[in-house]
Amino acid sequence: MALITYREALNQALAEEIQLDPNVVLMGEEVAQFKGSYKVSEGLLERFGPERVIDTPISEAAFTGLAVGSAMMGLRPVVEFMFWSFCYVAFDQIFNNAASVRYMSGGLVNVPIVFRGPANGGTNVGATHSHTPENFAANTPGLKVVCPSTPADAKGLMKAAIRDNDPVCFMENTILYNLKGEVPDSPDFIIPLGQARLACEGSDLSIIAHGRSVQVALEVAETLELKHNISAEVIDLRSIRPLDLDAILQSVRKTNRVLLVEENKPFCGVDAQISHLIQEHAFDYLDAPILRVSAIDVPQAYSKALENFQLPNHDRVLAKALELL
């Protein structure tokens, strides 16, 4: 184990998989010479050369579609979006082509590709750069969706995503890039998609979250423990699709109270589906209505004063947790 950042963990995963499989390439804006806009790909160009680590022009539709076409031919591209928000100009390539080509061809084609980059608010970059499209992606059969919250998960899930034979949307978080954590050194370290993590064991309520909201949930769990003598369990979904429904239900059946936390906007957000699944499968175990904290339902605000409130922050999550009990 080594104490490294989320950024370094991703870098290790990319390096190990590029090293392992000659069909893996990393491409995107500023991934090579610039070392990555957020330095996730630092050093990879020097190690693997420009055939494997490829700078693209600012042409998301073309390089995304190029990667999908090359994946149909057996390459395993990792496509970096500088922000997931920029995938909106490549929507057709992801949501029509990568997601649907297998089905439309009756299974003759598969697309082993990873689309990755940060998808988060909280950095005062305004509405166009702060989208969290995990709900769009998860709403699209054919795509898989992963939102790691820790350095170890970032590495283990990235390696699984690159080895996956289906398209995986891998959503990181710029605020987590500097987060440090213990990460196994072994090149065989893999975390399978679809396996949630029990981030904190508790008995009074279940806080279910993904991405950076897990970190917020853990802070709230600590406050609940210290100041309110409430024992909160925190479930980190890690993967949205596939989804570890069993882990969710197991926690709900234990605590009987559920708070869902996400950075998505609320309407048709990921947690709308989670909430539905819980009431469908564990209705009799619920002692209170399922509550949610999502981003406040307006376009992402620029001002720090507004955006910090807009996000599912500690105080908003804490207040909602206390409503449950």
């Binding site: 076409g69 057709d92 009756g106 898989k144 993967s239």
Partner: protein, 376 residues
């Protein structure tokens, strides 16, 4: 003009005689090595392929009108020489991708009529098991990567196929077909930039049939000819006549050499014409005249022109021409019978072919739930 080989209305269709075309074929492309070296058998095969595509599509139109085919049906009738000519000069390392008007390309690459017709009928025996439909035919084993429904959406994919060839050091090219309407989609230009910047062996073939759905070229495009748009990216471009099968073969062959010897892209504009509407639901008389269509059928029908050339060369006899046509009609009819008698996919098959992983449960690496409303 009596006796012109054209896609007629159904009432007269099957009795269309094969007699001589009304216009002289003055093409000189027959002298290009790629054409001069064709033997009689190869020439007859080219003619036969065009006839097969037309008869297949005429039969599919009837099936559509009979209610056996749903959704859209974009017919290629009139454009046959483009797909047949282009495919005929490819080698085993060359690949093809196209848009939604894909039946001609599918048959040209060697997909059989049965699997194509069954796909149109939405049957289990279709090339995409009834999950793709008219716009989404695929045959990766024949280097045919679809069949894509969104205008221009395939242009980056074709780039990626060619990119993969280059990455794998395979000396091949990708022909990426598109319509004139697709030249006004942004991803095409992003793709042209990358193709030139990275020296990717992709050949963009603009099948310019004059209409972007119901909007004529004059109303949809500035800066003609359309192929000239490659100029801005230092890509070699040229404009050709799609009713001349030899010219199509010749220009594709030149572009293939450029791709394979210099790893350079090309933009070819091949001027052609579709006799039917954008799709068969298209009223077709709001944006062009009957006379315009008849004029093209009379003077530039690619099948008539090539058939007459072969008759003049002595390669073909009228009897053989008639028997090729009859065989194509019979084959198309049989494909409709095949499609009609094939079963629909079972409801349980709805869940197949979404993820590679769920199709290969023995090689599953993920956990958890991936479907949230299932058929079973």
């Amino acid at each position: 003009m009596d006796g012109v080989y054209h896609d007629t209305d159904l009432a007269e269709d099957d009795s269309t005689p094969l007699t001589s075309s009304s216009s002289e074929d003055t093409s000189t492309f027959n002298q290009d090595a790629v054409n001069a070296n064709l033997d009689s058998e190869a020439k007859i095969h080219l003619l036969s392929q065009m006839i097969r595509i037309r008869r297949f599509e005429e039969r599919s139109l009837r099936a559509y009108q009979q209610g056996n085919i749903g959704g859209f049906l974009h017919l290629y009738i009139g454009q046959e020489a483009v797909a047949v000519g282009a495919v005929s000069v490819l080698s085993e390392d060359d690949h093809i991708i196209t848009a939604y008007r894909d039946h001609g390309h599918a048959i040209a690459v060697g997909m059989d009529m049965d699997e194509c017709m069954a796909e149109l009928f939405g049957k289990k025996t279709g090339c995409s098991k009834g999950k793709g439909g008219s716009m989404h035919f695929f045959a990766p084993d024949k280097n045919f990567w679809g069949g894509h429904g969104i205008v221009g959406g395939q242009t980056p994919l074709g780039l990626g196929i060619a990119y993969a060839l280059k990455y794998k050091k395979i000396n091949g090219a990708c022909l990426c077909f598109m319509g004139d309407g697709a030249t006004n989609q942004g991803p095409f230009y992003e793709s042209l930039n990358l193709a030139s910047l990275w020296n990717i062996p992709v050949i963009y073939i603009i099948e310019n049939n004059g209409y972007s759905m119901g909007t004529s070229e004059a109303r949809h495009s500035a800066g003609e000819p359309l192929a000239r748009r490659g100029e801005a990216f230092d890509i070699d471009w040229s404009v050709h006549q799609g009713h001349d099968l030899y010219e199509v073969r010749s220009c594709i062959n030149t572009a293939l050499s450029r791709a394979k010897e210099k790893s350079r892209p090309s933009v070819l504009e091949i001027v052609t014409y579709r006799y039917r509407g954008h799709s068969v639901a298209d009223p077709d008389q709001t944006y062009r005249s009957k006379e315009e269509i008849e004029e093209y059928k009379k003077n530039k029908d690619p099948i008539n022109l090539f058939r007459d050339r072969l008759l003049a060369e002595g390669v073909l006899t009228t009897e053989l021409a008639l028997s090729l046509d009859q065989a194509a009609k019979d084959e198309a009819e049989a494909s409709a019978d095949f499609a009609q008698s094939s079963p629909y996919p079972d409801i349980s098959e709805l869940m197949d072919d979404v993820y590679w992983e769920t199709d290969h449960p023995d090689k599953k690496t993920s956990m958890g739930s991936i479907f949230f409303e299932s058929a079973s």
